[in-house]
């Protein structure tokens, strides 16, 4: 049966070489993502260095518990993604599908919490350009909050793409369009993207919510 065989494409001489080429392509892509988010992180750190008071007052307006809940949701989704990769390698089709869907559900839960958080931020007047006037006078606070919206918004877009990818993949695995373990590399590479998006949040959360928190 095709789905139990490991698929080897031209021009690779063996499966290990093909696997390395797949992983290499993914890591180069993740490197470009790291560069993009790196610039945003750098901007946030610079705002913290040159406007410490404004950034601290802005940080105190953000809810560290909602952010923490979101961190826990994403870390759990990384675990279910790892389980999906293991299941795909072992050819367990239904478990792979289930674990991928669990990751997507946790990702959606993250986006719902984030959406609620944005709604609360809107109520506080933090959202740029809409709603009440910005509540903090101190220089740098509004700049920092704008950075918060840009970086969390860009991360949310990445996560939404990840959710779509993982749901589509779950369907493809279930329908044997992506047979496992033959093409488990597809699940592995989707998993890499998912973990990477999780890693960006691992840094965004402390830089935005925890650093210099006044209490």
């Amino acid at each position: 049966m095709a789905e139990t065989q490991l698929v080897l494409h031209e021009p690779f001489r063996d499966r290990a070489q093909q696997r390395e080429a797949d992983a290499l392509g993914m890591w180069v892509f993740l490197g470009t993502e790291a560069m993009m988010f790196g610039g945003l992180f750098f901007a946030l750190i610079v705002i913290r260095v040159i406007h410490p008071q404004g950034a601290q007052e802005a940080t105190d307006k953000l809810d560290m518990w909602l952010g923490g809940l979101n961190s826990a949701l994403l870390l759990t989704s990384s675990l279910t993604t790892t389980l999906a990769v293991t299941a795909a390698r072992k050819g367990a089709r239904s478990i792979t599908t289930g674990c991928l869907l669990a990751s997507a559900a946790l990702g959606m839960a993250f986006l719902c919490v984030k959406g609620y958080e944005y709604y609360v931020d809107y109520g506080k007047g933090l959202m740029p350009g809409v709603g009440k006037p910005f509540p903090i006078e101190t220089t740098g606070a509004e700049l920092f909050i704008n950075g918060y919206f840009v970086s969390t918004g860009l991360h949310a877009i990445h996560l939404f793409i990840g959710v779509c990818l993982v749901v589509g993949l779950a369907g493809a695995v279930w329908l044997r369009r992506v047979p496992v373990p033959g093409r488990s590399i597809v699940v592995e590479m989707a998993g890499r993207y998912w973990h990477f998006v999780d890693m960006i949040w691992i840094f965004l959360y402390p830089v935005l919510y925890l650093m210099d928190r006044g209490g």
Partner: protein, 90 residues
């Protein structure tokens, strides 16, 4: 399901959650003064390294893949190092 759940993955997950809890606790209840920022970033970096090594499977990756992954972080280090030495030393 049992054959898919490996103890190692659960330990890695527990470490990741533990480091998150630690970071939240120190930010909320500890006043570490000047080293506070360093501690916050160090705990996050610890989480990221665990994630990279185990869940992103750099542990079992070839040297080439590890080099490519490290190159991304090397250039980020250049960005932060050269960029911040201006603001931090003025």
């Amino acid at each position: 399901m049992a054959k898919v759940i490996r103890t190692g993955d659960l330990i890695v997950f527990a470490v990741l959650i533990g480091l998150l809890a630690l970071n939240m606790a120190q930010a909320r209840w500890l006043d570490l003064g000047v080293v506070s920022r360093v501690v916050t970033i160090a705990l996050a970096a610890g989480q990221a390294l665990v994630l990279l090594w185990y869940f992103l499977e750099l542990r079992s990756a070839t040297l080439l893949i590890r080099l490519v992954a490290a190159a991304g972080f090397f250039w980020l280090a250049v960005l932060f190092g050269l960029g911040l030495n201006d603001w931090l030393t003025r």
